[in-house]
Symmetry: C2
């Protein structure tokens, strides 16, 4: 009766995914099959499979006959990922809107309250975590699993980037919280889908623009 004994391949996948998402493995870090296999106490075959799966998600870059490295993020890639996410998350939010219950909205509003409160003594990590939860609360009801999956992948990717090199764009956090409230207003008023989509997309685009205006290298997802 093996309780939590998933397949080795699965465990390798989860381990690497967690480490990359948490930023323990910096971009460019070389993933050697043998080393990881030894660490996990298994052979290279399952590890190889896990790495190919991570490649499909864009978390690692793989070069035939050479090996895999944790996917780095130059400015251009970050821009493209954010742009994609703005489109997808906007659509997801609009689709989720009619399905949001009063409790969902109340929870989101409370989370945004926490966000605003946390502005006093600004802790980037805490703010980011609350921010993630707020957005998840808003789009998680999206009835289209494909779109939801794409949103998750986008966030995972951004989290991986952000964790390895966090940056704080001055003033953006405050503006972000205000935009959250505006979005919630639209959702509570059961505004037209197009309007909600536009607001959700603009929220993300604004972050991107703030980042570009700041001219900084490190990414943010606030």
């Amino acid at each position: 009766m093996p309780a939590a004994t998933a397949s080795k391949s699965q465990r390798a996948y989860e381990l690497l995914h967690r480490r990359i998402s948490a930023g323990e493995l910096v971009p460019g870090y070389r993933l050697v099959l043998g080393t990881i296999a030894a660490e996990l106490g298994c052979s290279t075959v399952p590890v190889r499979e896990a790495i190919r799966r991570l490649e499909a998600e864009g978390l690692v870059a793989f070069e035939p006959n050479v090996g895999a490295t944790v996917a780095g993020v130059d400015t251009e890639l970050y821009l493209h990922t954010m742009q994609t996410l703005s489109v997808i998350e906007g659509a997801a939010t609009a689709l989720a809107a009619p399905l949001l219950t009063a409790e969902d909205l109340a929870r989101a509003r409370a989370l945004n309250g926490d966000l605003r409160a946390s502005l006093a003594d600004f802790d980037p990590r805490r703010f980011t975590e609350l921010n993630d939860r707020f957005h998840a609360a808003v789009y998680e009801r999206c009835p289209n699993p494909h779109i939801l999956d794409l949103v998750h992948r986008g966030w995972t990717r951004l989290n991986a980037l952000r964790a390895s090199s966090f940056s704080h764009i001055p003033g953006r956090a405050l503006q972000s919280v205000a935009e959250h409230d505006a979005l919630l207003d639209l959702l509570e008023a059961r505004a037209p889908a197009a309007e909600i989509e536009r607001a959700a997309r603009a929220h993300r685009t604004n972050t991107l623009n703030a980042y570009l205006a700041a001219g900084g290298h490190p990414p943010s997802a606030i």
Copy 2:
């Protein structure tokens, strides 16, 4: 000097991808590692890797300790895929719009002319192929590789579905050609991105609605 000697895993992937896209392998068909390996003259390990890659693309469904089958398409999945594609392709088209040259537009216009001409003696396969090429011509210049990749995946998936069970929705082809021309008008006039995106998305949504109105099971991408 290895000319076309890709890795076995790669060749297995390409073979299966081609067969599924072409509809030779019907949804639900069971993919047995040993059988495919024997057919390719290699061991099961590379085949396994190829199948996991196809799984990540959504072309095959995989169940641990049981095996992989060609991903089927119930009505619901088709709907979700079309909806996702409408969002992504709309964005891709809008982003590509400013980069389209006069030649690009002329080529797209010519392709749509071919489409209209082919309406006389309607051949579903030829129409579909021209339709694919028309849309590719319109969104292929999209500067965001992520979004472009997502569009390609969406089309691949729909093609796989369509090939296995094609259906013709009466009247839709004609309307589709007209919508193409309208879209081209917008592109040539360098209309605002939002307007282009809306038109491109609506074009796909219209197909979806026509399909739903027809109440038929088999999918279409016209």
